[in-house]
Structures are given as structure tokens and as C-alpha cells.
Assembly symmetry: D2
Homo-oligomer: 195 residues x 4
């Protein structure tokens, strides 16, 4: 199965015209395809992931947002907001950047005041080392539950953000639609907010 | 010293005209003075406490709010938002009620999505059992860091809410102005948000 | 069914010969049946609950312990270690006391260094206020995951401590055997340890 | 001062006879000096840090362990247990490996059951981006409080593990002896265990 990860592709991975790439020499956090392939085979990569939620006036989670997108094979899969942390970028900046990329500029996420994540997920390319799997890399992912207060309009390649009550997000059928073990991760993240 | 607690008096403790008291038979959570004295000598009492903070667009704490009020002796002391949880009242409701009482109705607090507190403080009337002391009672207090987004206008008996950068709130001089060990508690609560 | 709670009865609730009761005047934390009935109708009661686990040398949970006991109706139900915190008793002391009562004196529990619980559960006697229900009282319960290193021999009225892999403890059938919403609570507590 | 970090040098950084190096082709997690220099300039590096503590029978922290070592300049500095997570290595394995390296094989650390760290520290080589600074790299460090139950005998280049009561570890003079902002980090980590 060529698509084993639930997060959206990052710009570095898109088959782009090199002219469209940001000037690499300006930002050491940008990696060429070769460099990315090298580091992915030698080092754990730092990721952030976010479970977008809506809360009521007392902070209680009322809805959970899941990204829905089509794979190149035409399958629909669900995904969390997720992406790499760049060199020189803070976790908060990375979280905000990926939320904006995946939910649009009007989502108005409330990044948690605490840097301690709701859960830590370790993705390995080799099966069996952990409940979480990512063919591309060994990633250490800090997972946050993030209330969003605005309206979400995902960029084109995510077809939809679907909102559902926590009980629906926790239904076995929904959890199974998240790839790479992220159903379990979603369940763990929602547990921290009492769901 | 007759005032050993930093939280503001609750309505039950005020020397009130009984006519002003809410109808007790309507809400079993209201206790008469005698009842309160009895339960305080026999049971740990559930409290919530809140450290109000202001955060920037990335969730980073920029300011910490502390209540400043005069004691009957004319001393100024600093306090956290704090109060008892009533029978039949959820922790979220109690947190919201005490935030509204102490910060006014326009504070717009963002109650955290997680019910797990930043810290748990155990107050004992007997000295030496814990770093936290409350002459009146044995209290188990769940402490939350709560971002507020509106404007704060405390009720009359709290003279002021003063806002200060986290480094000032953590200065030994400030921490020492919180009674009953709450300086230590403030330090612990702010630690959870990276301060 | 008159017994809807999963925790084991506390000594105060047992239909005992009064001579067997501890001398109440020596410990204000002891309550007579009448006093307990009064406070349970007027105040939230502080509880601690524990999920006993076994861990490997790297701290990974390998087994989860659940109490199995018969109700007066002859039904078998599963329960967590649980009980009330007494006046003047620290949370750690209460946790240790209830672990010893339910698992025996040779369980050697490792009480967590952090007083912050894995989860907070609010039990209400009125249905619908929370996922957790306790006919007897409004209880605020601090829930901990506690590794035990010794051997467990529960007191007589708990027929058994059964140990199972985390996946079995999380199976819907097992979770449904915990009363009062504690299946959900067990799932949340195990989520914090990556299960 | 060329050495501004409190963690002990890793084997990769030691000026070694190449013969002494582990066979790099057997473990992709090993990096040559050039490779390490490259990745450190392009990616955040995953670290684990540990605050070793001793606890009493109720889990209360009684002592805090700090590494004491001499710099090449002859200064004494205090340090936490710290080190890089290798490719393909779990956080638990990395934590155990660094604890064993720094505290010896008889320390018998109790790695926490929860993978969620007590705190997350972001080290940047550029000053001002964070309270934590590491000249060598951008590191994202997951910090745990780890009870140890055995006896500690650090390897040669750490002269001593010194144990002290939590109040002494939190004294401003002690915190100031930890480089790169780790005094603040120690304070935050100890806050999570009620100190």
C-alpha cells in the first residue's frame, strides 16, 4: 500500500518544479528531497499532531474535527493535522503553521498554554516496534488537542474537515479509518479531555 | 493571624442578614453556618482554584493575574481565584462561577478542555502535614491555569486584579505575598505552562 | 439493582456490630452512618481510585488488574480500587490504604511521584449530569494508574484480582463489566500510559 | 566557554580512535562526526532528559539527584541525565540507556508508565528564542522525573551524583549551576511532583 500515513504531504514531498520551491539557502529548515531521504534514514524526526475540537463555554468538547481526503488510489482516509517541525522553528510555530495549512487561515486555533502534549506517539518504519507505523521514517510526534473557534476551509488536497460528536469520533468504525495506528492515538488524545 | 487563607470569602461565610441568603431548601449545595462548621471538621472539602493568565496568539503565557485585596487588619494580600465546589455542581461550573465572582462577568475565561488539573493542593488545618495550610478546613483543591480573554472587573472586596509578566509573578517577593503556601502552588501551576 | 457502584464497600457502610467499629471519637475522619448519610446529601465527597498495573523493566504496562466480586444479587462485576479520603488523610495515604485493603499487604504498590491524577471523574447521583454515576453520592474522584510489584491477595469480599493484557482490559466486553461508567474511566486511565 | 551544555558528551562526539567506534554500518542510528554536524544544522534533534529522584513508600520525592562534573576548563557544573534518541530507538530505550550511562548499571530506574513527559524543553543555538540554549543544535527534549531505587555509580567523566532534598535542589544557587537554562527546567520538572 503506497499510502501509509495519515498526515498530508508536506511541500518538500510534492513532485514540484524546483522553481516553485522556497529558496533553500534562506531557510536551513528546508531540505531537498535527497537530504530529507538521508535524515529520514538516520534520525528520528520531530512531528507535531493536532486533534481539532470545538468546545462549549465551559471548555467541554462538543465536536471533533477529522480531515477527510482521497488517496491517489481513490480511497478516502481520515487524518489528524500533522507535520514536521523545522530547524529553528518552535513547537508552537509548527503547530500553528500546520493547523493553518490544514484548516485554513480562519480557523483561529487556541494553541494550548502548556507545551506538554496530550500524548507522545512514536512512529517506526519497521513493523511491530510500536502501535504506530510510518513507512517513511522514525518520527517522534507530540500530539495536542486544539480548540478551534473560527471556520475551517482546508486547502485543496484535503477534501473536507468533518465535525462529529466525540462519541462518533470514538466509534470503532471511525477510528479504523485513520491510518498507521492513529485511531488509537485519537482515542488516547480524546481521553485526556474526558471523552 | 486571623486571615490565613488567600481565597476570597464565600457567601456562606459572610456575616449576612439571613434574609439575604439564598433559599437553602432550593439548593442542597448551600450550607448553613452550623452545617458548614460541621462538615469542615469531618470531611475534606472539594475546592477549585484558578490562575488567570493572558496568552498570545500561539498560546504562550504573557501575563499572570493575581487578586489583590485588603484584610480586615489592613494588610494587602495576593490571592488566586478559589472556592468550594457545591453538591451537584460540576467542576467546570464551579470553576466558571468562581472566575465570574472574582473577575467579573466580562472576563471570558477559557476553561481548559481537560478536567485534569495542573496541580492538586491539599490544605490541612494542622501545620506540617503539607506545604499548604488552611485554618478552617481540610481541602483538596484542583488547580487550573485559565486563559482569560476579556476585561476583568473584580467585585468590590477584591480591590484589584493585577497583571504582571510571568517572571514577576514568580519573583520570590510576589510568591511570598500569597498566603497558606499558595506561592509555591502558583509556581507549580505556572511551571506547567512553561514559565 | 441496589448496588450500582463498582468500588468495594467501605467499613462505615458494612452492617456491623457497633462494637467492631473503630472508636469514632479518636478519629474525626470516621463518620457514623447518620453523619455519612448527611454529608453525602450535602457535599461532594473526595475519592481516590487506582488502576493497578504491572510494568516491564522499561515502564511499559504489560498487565492490568481488575477486581472481580459478587454483588448481593449474585452478579459478578469488575471494579477499580476505590475509596473515600478521610478528614486529615493525605491523598497518598488514602491511595495506599485502599490499595492495601483491596490488594492485600504484599502488593507493594508504587504510588506515583506526581499528585496530579491520570484522570478526574465526577460521579453524580442524578443521571445525565456526567458519564459517571453513583446512586449514593456526588463524588469527585482522583484516578491514578499504580504499578504494583508484589503479589496480590484481596480481602475476602473481592473474590479475585484478575490480571489481563491491556488489550483485553480495553475490550468492549470487559469495559462493560465495570459499573457506573467506570469502563470509560478505565479506558481513559489506560490511555495515559499509552494503551 | 566552549562547553555550554549540561548533558554529558555522547560517544559520537568523543575524539576516539576510529577502531573504538561501534560498527556504523550495523546501526543506522550511529552517525559519523560529519553526519552529526550536518543533521544538527538542518533538523531538530530528539532528546530525552531525566531528573533522577528517590521516593518514599508513598511516592513522595525525598531526594533529587544531580550530576556534577568538571568542564575542560576546570569548572564544576551540574547536569541532568540527558542524551539523544537514536534512529529506531524507542524513547523508553533511550531513557534507560542514558540513565545507565550516567548513573551506572545498578541504579534500577523506574521508567514512568506514561510516555507523556513532565515537561518539553526546546533548545535553540540562537539566543533569545527560548529559555533553553544549546550551542550545538536545535533540540526538542522530553523531560521525565525518574525514581531510582538502586545505587548510583556514574561513569568516569561525571565525577559525582549528588543527592539533596528537593528544597536544596530548588535553591537559586543550585539552579544557577545548571547550564543552558536547565535550572528553570529542573524547577518545572520538580513542580510536577509537588516540589
Amino acid at each position: 500500500m503506497p499510502i501509509d500515513t495519515a498526515d498530508l504531504p508536506e511541500p518538500e514531498e510534492l513532485p514540484d518544479d524546483p522553481e516553485d520551491l522556497p529558496p533553500e539557502n534562506l531557510n536551513p529548515g528546508w531540505l531537498s528531497q535527497d537530504e530529507l531521504a538521508f535524515v529520514r534514514s538516520r534520525l528520528p524526526i520531530v512531528y507535531v499532531e493536532a486533534v481539532p475540537v470545538r468546545v462549549d463555554g465551559l471548555g467541554q468538547v462538543t465536536e471533533v474535527g477529522l480531515l477527510l481526503r482521497g488517496t491517489p488510489e481513490g480511497e478516502m482516509t481520515r487524518a489528524l493535522v500533522a507535520g514536521r517541525v523545522r530547524y529553528g522553528e518552535s513547537l508552537r510555530d509548527a503547530l500553528f503553521r500546520h493547523l493553518e495549512t490544514d484548516l485554513g487561515p480562519m480557523a483561529f486555533p487556541q494553541i494550548p498554554a502548556s507545551p506538554v502534549p496530550a500524548q507522545v506517539a512514536e512512529y517506526f518504519p519497521m513493523p511491530g516496534m510500536s502501535p504506530y507505523n510510518d513507512e517513511r521514517q522514525h518520527a517522534v510526534s507530540l500530539v495536542y488537542v486544539v480548540p478551534v473557534t473560527g471556520s475551517c476551509s482546508p486547502r485543496q488536497d484535503a477534501l473536507e474537515v468533518s465535525w462529529m460528536p466525540p462519541a462518533d469520533a470514538l466509534a470503532p468504525g471511525t477510528l479504523a479509518e485513520l491510518a498507521g495506528g492513529r485511531g488509537r492515538l485519537l482515542r488516547q488524545a480524546l481521553s485526556t479531555v474526558g471523552c
